[in-house]
C-alpha cells in the first residue's frame, strides 16, 4: 500500500493506497486524466521518488525483492530505464552517440563494450544514422528515439516512458510505437504513461487506470475498455466505442481491427456529433492573408500563402511539426513581417502596425502558458495585457471570467494551477483586449478529455458571439470536431483548403503533410449529401 505526497509533512497527497505488482517483461499502460498521478507513480518505480523528489512516501516499493529506499537511483538504472516527457531536458550531451554513452560511462563499462552497446541500442531504436548529430537539432520523434536508445543501452529489464507521444506528430508517433513494440518483442518490459488511449491501447497487455491518485481499474485492455472509463477523463478510442455499441464479442482496439467487423449500413449511425455547422458567407472578413512568403537563412519557410478568416468562423490550420504553422501564426500579429505579400486585419495592413497595436485585433495564446505568467494572481494575469493596451474594460473581463469558468481561481497564483486551468487563463488573457480574431496554438496538446470537451464548448460559444477563431493544431480529431474549414500546411505551403472531409480525402496532400486521416474519417468518410443527410464512404 503505497501513499505519497511531494510535501515532507504528507499534505496534498498525490498517490493513495497503491497496490501493484508488475512483471519485468510486461507492456503496461498507466493511464488517467491530467493530475491523476501518472507521472508521480512512474517516478516511484525507479526510485526518483523518494531519492530525488523527497516528500513523504509510505509503504514499500520493491524491485526484484529489494526496497527502492535501500538502492540509489543510479544503482537501479540497469534494471529500470526511464524516458522523460521533455526531450529538451533529458538530452544533455552534444551528440546522440555521447548521449547513449553517458549511462554506460556511469556504470563504468570499458570503451569496447560501450561502443558495442551504442551500436546495438541505436539499431534497436532505428537511429543508426543520427549518432553524430546534436540531439537538440533533431525532430521530436528522433529525440524520443535517442532518449529510448540511451536507456536501452543499459540493457534494463523494463523501460518506463512518461507521456512519450506528448509532442509528436502522427508520423513520429508511429515510429516511436514501432520501436517500442520491437523492443518489447525482444523481452524488455515497457511501462507507458499516457492518457490518449487511441495511441497506446492496442500495444499494451495490461492497463492501469488512475483517478485522483488511486488505482481504479487494472486488467487487460479488452476488459478495462468495457468499463465506464470516460468518467475518469479518458477518451475511448473510436473503434472501441463502435465495437461496444455493436456488442462485438471481441473489442477491436483500433480502426484497422474494427473495419472488417463492421456491418455496412450501421457505420454512419455511430458517428459522434460534430459541432453545429456555421454559416459563414454572410459575415465580414476580419483577416486576409495575401500571397505571403517568408525565408529563414535563405531557406523558404512559407510560400505563397493566401486565405481569409471571417467573423464567427472557426478555421483550423493543420500540419505536422515543422510545416510552418507557428511561423505563419506569428505573421498574423506582426511578430514576423512577411518578406513578400500582405497581411490585412480589419482592412488595415499589418506592415506598419506595431505588435502592440495589432494585439488589439489579434489575440494569440501560445502552446505553453508558462511562457507568459508573471503576475501573482489569475485576475492580474488576465488584465495585464488589456491594461498595457489601455483598453481595460472590467465588465468584459468579468464576462470572460464567467465564460472560462475562472471565478474560483481568480485570487490564486497562475503557476499553481493545473495545466488545463493554466490554458484557460491564457485563453482568457488573449481575449482580454477584445480582439476580433483569437489564435490558439496547439490548444489541446497534452490535455485530457475533460479539457478537450470544455474547450470545444467554449469554441462553440465564442463563434456564436461572432468571434473568429484560428486553431493551429496537429490534433486532427479535435480540429475535425470543431472547425468547419481546414487549411492543410506542408513544407510551408497550403496544400489543401476545404472542409475536414475534403482535405482528408486528398490523399496526396495528406501524405505530403505527413498526416493521417482521423479514425472517424477512416471509418465513416463522413460527408453530407445535398439534402443534408450523411453519406457513408469507407476508406
Amino acid at each position: 500500500m503505497v501513499c505519497y505526497a511531494y510535501r515532507k509533512n504528507g499534505a496534498d497527497r498525490i498517490l493513495h493506497d497503491i497496490n501493484l505488482k508488475i512483471r519485468p517483461d510486461e507492456y503496461l499502460l498507466v493511464c488517467g486524466a491530467s493530475g491523476s498521478g501518472k507521472s508521480t507513480l512512474c517516478r516511484t518505480f525507479n526510485g526518483l521518488i523518494p531519492h530525488f523528489f523527497g516528500g513523504s512516501l509510505q509503504g514499500d516499493i520493491r524491485i526484484d525483492g529489494i526496497p527502492t529506499t535501500e538502492q540509489s537511483v543510479g544503482g537501479l538504472i540497469t534494471r529500470l530505464g526511464m524516458v522523460f516527457q521533455n526531450p529538451e531536458a533529458q538530452l544533455f550531451n552534444r551528440s546522440v552517440e555521447q548521449e547513449i554513452a553517458f549511462g554506460l560511462e556511469s556504470i563504468g563499462l570499458e570503451r569496447g563494450e560501450i561502443k558495442k552497446r551504442i551500436a546495438e541500442a541505436a539499431a534497436a531504436a532505428g537511429i543508426e544514422g543520427l549518432l553524430l548529430q546534436n540531439p537538440h537539432e533533431l525532430s521530436g520523434g528522433q529525440q524520443q528515439l535517442a532518449a529510448i536508445a540511451a536507456v536501452l543501452a543499459l540493457r534494463p529489464q523494463t523501460i518506463i516512458l512518461d507521456e512519450p507521444y506528448a509532442n509528436l506528430d502522427p508520423v513520429n508517433v508511429r515510429r516511436v510505437r514501432t520501436a517500442l513494440k520491437k523492443i518489447h518483442q525482444n523481452g524488455i518490459g515497457i511501462i507507458v504513461s499516457e492518457h490518449r488511449l487511441a495511441l497506446t491501447v492496442a500495444d499494451a497487455e495490461r492497463m492501469v487506470v488512475l483517478h485522483q491518485g488511486r488505482i481504479v481499474l487494472d486488467g487487460p485492455p479488452e476488459t478495462i475498455l468495457r468499463q465506464n472509463i470516460e468518467s475518469y477523463g479518458l477518451e475511448l478510442p473510436l473503434a472501441v466505442t463502435v465495437g461496444r455499441q455493436l456488442g462485438l464479442a471481441t473489442l477491436p482496439l483500433n480502426i484497422d481491427a474494427l473495419i472488417p467487423l463492421l456491418p455496412e449500413k450501421t457505420a454512419a449511425d455511430f458517428a459522434p456529433a460534430l459541432s453545429p455547422a456555421f454559416e459563414q458567407s454572410a459575415l465580414a472578413a476580419v483577416l486576409k492573408i495575401d500571397r505571403i512568403s517568408f525565408n529563414i537563412d535563405g531557406k523558404s519557410v512559407l510560400r505563397d500563402i493566401s486565405f481569409t478568416v471571417n467573423a464567427g468562423e472557426c478555421l483550423a490550420l493543420v500540419g505536422a511539426n515543422g510545416a510552418g504553422k507557428t511561423t505563419l501564426l506569428k505573421h498574423l500579429n506582426g511578430l514576423i513581417r512577411p518578406a513578400r505579400g500582405c497581411v490585412t486585419v480589419m482592412n488595415r495592413s499589418t506592415q506598419r502596425l506595431k505588435v502592440s497595436q495589432l494585439a488589439r485585433y489579434v489575440g494569440v495564446a501560445f502552446q505553453n502558458p508558462n511562457s507568459q505568467f508573471f503576475k501573482l494572481t489569475v485576475w492580474d494575469e488576465i488584465v495585464v495585457g488589456a491594461q498595457a493596451l489601455k483598453c481595460y474594460d472590467e465588465s468584459w473581463i468579468r464576462e470572460l471570467v464567467q465564460l472560462f469558468g475562472l471565478e474560483p481561481l481568480l485570487m490564486r497564483a497562475p503557476y499553481r494551477l493545473s495545466e488545463g486551468e493554466k490554458k484557460r487563463v491564457a485563453f482568457a488573457a488573449a481575449l482580454a483586449a477584445r480582439p476580433v480574431i483569437l489564435a490558439l496554438d496547439e490548444p489541446t496538446a497534452g490535455q485530457d478529455l475533460f479539457f478537450r470537451r470544455s474547450l470545444g464548448k467554449l469554441l462553440v460559444q465564442l463563434q456564436q458571439r461572432g468571434q473568429a477563431v484560428l486553431l493551429i493544431t496537429q490534433d486532427l480529431s479535435f480540429a475535425e470536431q470543431y472547425a468547419r474549414r481546414w487549411l492543410l500546411l506542408a513544407d510551408g505551403e497550403i496544400v489543401a483548403d476545404g472542409s475536414p472531409g475534403e482535405v482528408m480525402r486528398n490523399q496526396a496532400a495528406m501524405e505530403r503533410a505527413h498526416l493521417e486521416p482521423t479514425d472517424r474519417f477512416r471509418l465513416f468518410g463522413l460527408q453530407r449529401d445535398p439534402n443534408g443527410n450523411r453519406r457513408s464512404e469507407r476508406f
Binding site: F102, L104, S356, F366, F374, V384, A388
Partner: protein, 224 residues
C-alpha cells in the same frame, strides 16, 4: 579540423595567442594578429558565422574602446577595441574547433573534478535552449500588448520577461537533474568513452606555438 588535436592542446594554443595579443602594444602588431584569425575562419569555412559573431560583439568592443579613448586618447582607444575583438575572435575559433564536452572531459583526465567539467559543458549546451525560451517569452508577452521591444519601455516591463524565463529555467534545471540522476550521474567508477591523449601532433603543435610566441615576444623587445 576539430579532431586533429586534443582539446587541451587547443586550449594551450588559445592561451598562447591570448598572451601574444595582450602583450601587443602597437596597432601594427594587432592588425596582423586579427588578420591571421580572419584568414583561419575563411579557410575553415566559418566566415559567415564569424561575421555574425563579430556583429554581436562589436557594440561591446566599441563601448570599451570609446571609454578608453575618452580617458587615454585615440590610439589607446583603438588598441583597446581591437584587442577585445581579437580576444573574442580567439574564443570564437577555440569553441568552433572544440566541443565544450571534449574540453571538459579531457580536463577531467588531468585532475578537474567531473561534476565541474559536466556543469561547464552542459551549461553551454543549454545556452541555445534558454535563448529559445527567452524568445518565446518575448513573443508571448508582445502578443498580448506588453511592449518588450528593445527600448526604455521594455525596462519598465522587465518582470514580464524575467519572471516566466526564470521559472522555466528552474523547471528545466529540475527536469535535467532528474534525467541525469536516472542515467547514473554521480555513480562512482565512471569511465570515459572518448579517449583523450596528447599525441605526437599535440606535442609538436604545443612546442611550435610556444617557440613562435617566444620568437614574437623577443623580436618585439628587440624592436622596442
Amino acid at each position: 579540423m576539430g579532431n586533429l588535436l586534443d582539446p587541451r592542446t587547443k586550449l594551450i594554443m588559445a592561451i598562447f595567442y591570448t598572451i601574444l595579443v595582450v602583450a601587443s602594444k602597437k596597432l601594427s602588431w594587432l592588425l596582423p594578429e586579427w588578420g591571421a584569425l580572419i584568414a583561419f575562419n575563411l579557410v575553415v569555412g566559418k566566415g559567415r558565422d564569424y561575421i555574425s559573431w563579430l556583429r554581436f560583439s562589436l557594440p561591446m568592443a566599441l563601448f570599451f574602446g570609446g571609454v578608453t579613448w575618452w580617458s587615454a586618447g585615440l590610439e589607446s582607444g583603438l588598441r583597446a577595441a581591437l584587442t577585445l575583438i581579437i580576444l573574442i575572435s580567439v574564443f570564437f575559433v577555440f569553441f568552433q574547433t572544440t566541443a565544450p564536452e571534449d574540453l571538459g572531459n579531457s580536463l577531467v583526465k588531468i585532475g578537474l573534478p567531473y561534476p565541474v567539467a559536466f556543469v561547464f559543458s552542459t551549461s553551454l549546451q543549454f545556452v541555445p535552449v534558454i535563448g529559445r525560451k527567452a524568445k518565446t517569452v518575448i513573443d508571448a508577452q508582445r502578443s498580448r500588448g506588453i511592449p518588450l521591444e528593445p527600448g526604455w519601455s521594455a525596462l519598465r516591463h522587465y518582470p514580464a520577461f524575467l519572471g516566466p524565463l526564470l521559472i522555466q529555467a528552474l523547471q528545466l534545471a529540475e527536469e535535467l537533474a532528474a534525467a541525469m540522476e536516472a542515467r547514473g550521474f554521480g555513480r562512482p567508477g565512471r569511465t570515459f568513452y572518448k579517449d583523450y591523449h596528447l599525441g605526437k601532433a599535440d606535442w609538436s603543435a604545443i612546442v611550435l606555438s610556444l617557440l613562435l610566441l617566444i620568437a614574437c615576444l623577443v623580436r618585439r623587445c628587440i624592436w622596442n
